[in-house]
Subunit: 439 residues, 2 copies
């Protein structure tokens, strides 16, 4: 009868801002970071790993919040915990004093994601399977029991969700076999960060095409003349049949978004991503109507399932880019996948940062196996940064995520990476004189 | 040439959960708390005070976030700061690394509110006037310059906002004179907390009517039979002409909200407050349509101006209950008041907690003087708790807030209160053995 004996939460920060990796129109100095959670147990062969992703300052807030969120886990019997993954989620989520600081958004929700991601990792490790398989082996009733459907029943009841999942049950095994052969299709953002020179942009686009990618994404929104020139380069390399996506990272008001996107229409972008405030459901709907047939994509800052419910109700999105570490872990991610399938909106999950690629591969595979049963218009994000810190990193071949086979949620980092990049006392930061002072 | 020399942020918690003050269907153990900010300057006669309101655990997160938010203030020239209250707000708000944890929501936004509330308090003290007068003395152009209109220009441009304010300029002085005679009308929530007995409820309703209140608010949503009995008591005491409001504190999904409110319709409530998730714009719109003529009120958890913009666009609210310590201080509050006036939705600001009454009186007075120019359907919340800790507490007479005349935003607490209720080392908490352990 193993129990959780303690919870460790570590502030890990990588100095990615030094190379402009991750730079965009809103985020100029992104030190990709993680509030990293380890659930220790009294079974020496079993731990759980999870995290949420941040970009530098403020990671300490997520670490402190995760410590608070995790308090009720200590001493829990692991069999009971893993047998009631809906119950423990709801218990942590409903802490009424922390709820006041949200609800279900911002720092306390990122922290819930970090902690519950570790619980899901633990559950998959205990079962000896990768997370995508743990989920794919659950019955429709079990999946709906763990999904967070609170505040969603006006559009999707638990009964409807069960029906939706039952519809996909017959083909699950065959679709998994398909993915085992070909992987899950992905696209690369590594080429298009705003801080890169034109020469570097061209070279990276060429490398992406050579590596088998059919989609390339560029950051836009800082300067229209630059955007026109950069989109021209990317379209030239991709040819007329490749897919070019553009991403404004929320820099525009609604009227400006419409005007700017129309000015880039000649490059035939597949989607405009985060054209305005991520909270602006009706704004996204207005932009979508104005810039069609260019699609509208958003979701990496989609704070919770209630936002996504309304995005779908309002017809605001062509592509849903949910984030595995901003939504409240698998419990809430599952709810958004169910909603998306119900409204027939493809989910192309956000990735990049620290370890998000490692997480989203599981979710995308599970979606195809059990929820949407479709690859149509679906492509998961991939960014080629920081994978070397993960014990079981994702593997890409010919523009597709290969199916992970190690037990868990692929979230474990190397001890050596933690020792080096722990903030502010890890070997790297302790040696850097110009690091940000803590207040 | 005075400067800000240091920023102090204090975790203050009052043990209000011991008496069920503040209890409702969602929040059962509300220890009313504040992340309290003091801006020290090298002018010994000048400091700035501000706070955000929380309910216990998690206040430490807001304190830590406020410390980060305030770093750029240290060393600033006070004249420059007070001459550019829009600029400093935008500078703090746009910290791209903290922005990632929102944007504009949750802990980092509460912290922005705490810090910028202190800056506004400082500005009013420096001018030697109460905040409502500082604002009422500003020109339409000055007000629009400090208001946070980002992401709002699809419905309200700066030019339109100036026009709206210009329309109310001629009557400003006269309306202020009116309020100086009669005060700003308010209602009391003190009677209706869910944890109170029927006898206490009846007594408090009777006391409220005797004190001149024409509105009483009850918490509902835990048990329908209880709600029917309690609403019956309140309506009996109020008589047919008094205004009864009910408040569910987000406990229902949309269909359940509609059903439950209809079951209480016989008591003729003026409004149902927070019937569902505060993020559910389209859900509020659906509820409003279904329960009319009962009004729908929400806003104390309204996370930012983008949410309110959409609430107004969707016709989701009869009453806007913005919160002075959840929105990003006066800068964002002002934007929501402008939007509300533009859409002709009355603002009845949320109060209670710690010191919210002290803040909202300034905002309501200013709204009447300079923005909406109307008292129609407007009544500010008042809760009779914790005012004894404030140096210049609000004063109520005959169901109205009297106009505050002390310079500032009425946010300063007594040193003795801080020494007693500072968490966890203040005299009260240090002596209490059962206080929550910090993780």
């Amino acid at each position: 009868m193993a129990r959780i004996t303690s919870v460790e939460v570590i502030d890990v920060r990588f100095p990615t801002s030094l190379t402009s990796d991750g730079s965009d129109a809103m985020n100029k100095d992104g030190d990709h970071s993680a509030a990293y959670v380890v659930l220790h147990t009294d079974d020496p062969s079993l731990s759980g790993y999870g995290f949420t992703f941040t970009i530098g300052r403020g990671n300490d807030l997520c670490v402190a919040a995760a410590k608070q969120r995790a308090v009720p886990l200590v001493g829990r019997d692991i069999d009971e915990l893993c047998g009631n993954l809906g119950g423990i989620y709801r218990e942590l989520q409903s802490d009424s004093q922390l709820r006041w600081l949200g609800p279900d958004k911002g720092v306390i929700h990122l922290a819930l994601a970090a902690v519950m991601n570790a619980v899901w990792d633990l559950a998959a490790r205990r079962a000896g399977v990768p997370l995508w398989r743990l989920l794919s082996d659950m019955s429709p009733e079990q999946l709906v029991e763990v999904a967070d459907l609170r505040y969603l029943t006006d559009v999707l009841t638990p009964e409807q969700a069960v029906t939706l999942l039952e519809r996909q049950e017959p083909g699950r095994k065959q679709r998994i076999a398909e993915l085992e052969a070909s992987g899950y299709p992905c696209y690369t953002t590594s080429a298009g960060w705003l801080g890169y020179s034109d020469a570097k942009l061209r070279r990276l686009c060429e490398e992406a095409v050579a590596a088998g990618y059919n989609h390339v994404k560029l950051k836009v929104g800082a300067d229209l003349a630059d955007d026109i020139r950069r989109c021209g380069i990317a379209r030239e390399v991709l040819g007329p049949d490749g897919n070019l996506m553009i991403d404004a990272n929320q820099v525009w008001d609604v009227p400006q978004a419409i005007e700017w996107v129309k000015a880039l229409a000649e490059f035939d972008p597949l989607w405009i991503e985060e054209p305005t405030s991520p909270d602006d459901i009706l704004g996204h709907a207005a932009i979508r109507k104005a810039v069609a047939p260019i699609g509208v994509a958003s979701g990496e800052h989609g704070m919770n399932r209630v936002l996504f419910k309304q995005m779908f109700q309002a017809g605001a999105l062509d592509y849903c880019q949910l984030d595995a570490a901003r939504l409240g872990s698998v419990n809430e991610v599952l709810a958004v996948y169910l909603l998306a399938a119900w409204f027939d909106v493809p989910v192309c999950p956000h990735a990049g940062g620290v370890g998000l690629c490692e997480l989203v591969q599981h979710l995308a595979i599970f979606d195809y196996a059990a929820v949407s049963g479709s690859l149509d218009r679906r492509v998961a994000e991939y960014v080629d940064h920081l994978h070397e810190h993960f014990v079981a990193p994702c593997v890409i071949r010919d523009g597709a995520y290969l199916l992970p086979d190690a037990p868990g949620y692929s979230a474990e980092m190397y001890m050596e990476s933690l020792r080096t990049y722990r903030f502010p006392d890890g070997a790297y930061w302790a040696s850097r004189a110009d690091r940000d002072p803590l207040p």
